[in-house]
């Protein structure tokens, strides 16, 4: 229960788990080839720019707005997914209702669907004459070709991340924990709030981080519904593509580098939070 199977390098003590050197070497090589080298290329490309040029590009109004739209909406969408995803997970795991398996399968659709298909489907659904767009338009709400459309597309593609990370943890949660709470006099709400939710926090944070990362990087499904008006509904990945099509490669990579750094920082924070939550709940 205490030894969690973690082997620390350089602890000066021979560990019992063999193959540390081999797996560590493979891990580092693999991560380098797949992730680090391409990223290094990205950074190198930006060095074609002087610092002033770099600063100019990334602080231009259009870039800043695109970044704000991408990160802000992605964060909001991840929050919505966190809340709604938890509710969906709860229903899927805790209740038996007709069609449960079908709903369970539906959750994966945003994973599987080509993003362009999702984008086109959402656009036609929310267009002024679409099934949902028409009634919403009557209420004066315009979704397609506005930031709201981007938001909805980001929610759409993010939901499976929350559901699929939290689901197994909730399934494995010991029912005796809840019975203990009930027998100690806690009502249903207190049990959920004080016992179940805290046990799910690490998984919820992971789900949130994944949904957020995916939404920040999402391109295919967003550009169809976004309208892509500079400064209003233009996401950062689209701006990068635009710069590329204008052959302004250095500009494109500069924006990419900023996205990378911000995303990395946010994920780092979430990781720390997760680590903190997990060490408070030592794993069995």
């Amino acid at each position: 229960m205490r030894g969690s199977g973690v082997v620390t390098a350089g602890s000066g003590r021979r560990n019992t788990l063999p193959g540390f050197g081999l797996t560590m070497g493979l891990t580092l090589t693999w991560l380098s080839v797949i992730i680090l080298i391409p990223l290094a290329g990205l950074f190198l490309k930006t060095f074609e720019l002087s610092f002033a040029e770099f600063a100019n590009i990334v602080t231009s109004r259009r870039t800043l707005n695109a970044l704000k739209i991408s990160f802000g909406l992605a964060f909001g969408a991840a929050l919505v997914n966190l809340v709604m995803g938890s509710i969906v997970v709860w229903a899927l795991v805790r209740y038996r209702f007709p069609g449960r398996r079908i709903f369970d399968a539906i959750v994966d659709i945003p994973f599987a669907l080509p993003t362009a298909v999702a984008g086109i489907a959402l656009t036609s659904l929310f267009a002024q004459k679409g099934w949902l767009g028409a009634p919403l338009a009557e209420l004066g709400i315009k979704v397609a070709f506005t930031p709201l459309g981007i938001f909805i597309a980001m929610i759409f593609i993010g939901i499976p991340f929350v559901v699929r990370t939290v689901q197994p943890v909730l399934i494995d949660l010991d029912p005796e924990i809840e019975e203990a709470a009930a027998s100690l006099g806690a009502n249903r709400w207190q049990t959920i709030w004080r016992v179940i939710l805290p046990s799910l926090i690490p998984a919820l944070l992971t789900g949130f981080a994944l949904a957020f990362a995916r939404a920040v990087g999402e391109y295919g499904s967003v550009i169809f519904i976004a309208g892509n008006l500079p400064n209003v509904s233009e996401i950062a990945p689209l701006l990068i593509v635009i710069r590329l099509s204008e052959f302004r490669y250095a500009d494109a990579t500069a924006i990419a580098v900023v996205m990378l750094i911000v995303a990395f920082l946010i994920i780092l924070v979430v990781n720390r939070l997760q680590y903190w939550a997990q060490t408070r709940i030592p794993v069995h």
Binding site: I177, A182, S183, G185, A186, P198, S199, I281, P282
Partner: protein, 345 residues
């Protein structure tokens, strides 16, 4: 608080986990539920706690119907076999949980809650662990924290499901003694489940022996050991030697050999039950004899495998005798049960 169970039945699908259980538990008693795996002990405990509902029968506390109240309203403290501690809370918060979730109107203030938790941690002698998380405790410590948590709200009944099941023999012994003295101190009506007979006999005032969803016998540890009511109890508690016999008109036959003992209330094919240490080897003859097959000696006793001829078949029994009369492999000996019971098949 007295507990009265009347004709409790509980089915899981077609399987009867509890089949007409009647039991009265007196105020302040420390009762052991003893039985083999799957006999329905946990199910019965959960029904008393309100974590499960019977399909038939009544549960009453102090003469009042308990079934119309949920688990949280029964004032029952439940200690789970695997502790079920809240892993994300410190030991302190685990124990405080029951006090913190009370409705605001009757909830104590923070200072009283702290004092009460401190008191309980002192009671289980683990106040120095207050700031640890359950994952950082040993099994025995977790068990005691689970007990402290259950006691925090001053339950009127304490239920423990195999409280020492997951612990090693030495810790079990310690905790057993500790539970007994704790019970003497707080004197709350308690029921604990075990499938360890030694534990039941040593700790409890009264023992309930269960098998296949039914109660086989209720009695003091001495009663169930010395006067088992059924063949099952005789076989389950203590070490028994069992021989197939036939009873006709009060006379007992083993195969075609009559035995010089009587069995007034039984008839037909039966089993003769003798405690292992009650089977004597000696001169006195009741007509039961067997061939010594194998002898092992340790300490003050020798243990022998003896083949008894019963009809055409041989039955191999294991007995304990003092070493002053040395047994030799191959010799035929007279067997004489000092005390015995005969149960019809």
């Amino acid at each position: 608080m007295t507990i009265e169970l009347t004709n409790i039945t509980k089915n899981f699908g077609a399987f009867a986990a509890l089949d007409g259980v009647d039991l009265k538990i007196a105020d302040g008693e420390l009762l052991a539920l003893l039985g083999p795996s799957g006999s329905g002990k946990t199910t019965l405990l959960r029904i008393i706690a309100g974590l499960d509902w019977p399909d038939g029968g009544d549960v009453s506390f102090d003469g009042e119907n308990a079934l119309k109240r949920g688990a949280g309203e029964r004032q029952v403290g439940f200690v789970f076999q695997h502790y079920a501690l809240f892993r994300h809370m410190t030991v302190f918060e685990n124990v405080a949980f029951g006090l913190r979730v009370k409705p605001r109107a009757i909830r104590k203030d923070e200072a009283s809650i702290r004092a009460r938790v401190k008191e309980l941690l002192d009671l289980v002698q683990l106040d120095w662990l207050a700031d640890r998380y359950p994952g950082q405790l040993s099994g025995g410590q977790r068990q005691r924290i689970a007990l402290a948590r259950a006691l925090a709200t001053e339950p009127r009944i304490l239920l423990l499901d195999e409280p020492f099941g997951a612990l090693d023999a030495k810790v079990r012994k310690e905790l057993r003694r500790w539970l007994r003295s704790l019970h003497e101190e707080i004197n709350v009506t308690s029921v604990f489940v075990t499938h360890d007979q030694e534990e039941a006999l040593e700790v409890a005032n009264r023992v309930v022996v269960m098998d296949k969803g039914k109660i086989e016998q209720v009695g003091t540890p001495g009663e169930v050991y010395d006067y088992p009511a059924t063949a099952f109890v005789h076989g389950f508690i203590g070490e028994s030697v069992v021989l197939p016999v036939n009873v006709a008109e009060g006379r007992v036959w083993i195969g075609d050999q009559p035995l010089n003992i009587t069995a007034p209330n039984v008839g037909g094919p039966s089993k003769l039950y003798v405690r292992r240490h009650d089977m004597q080897v000696g001169s006195e003859s009741i007509g039961l004899r067997g061939a010594v097959r194998h002898v092992r000696s340790f300490g003050a006793i020798q243990r022998a495998d003896i083949a008894v001829c019963a009809g055409g078949n041989e039955t191999l029994i294991e007995i304990d005798t003092p070493r002053d009369h040395a047994l030799r492999t191959g010799e035929t000996v007279e067997l004489h049960p000092r005390r015995f019971r005969i149960f019809a098949d």
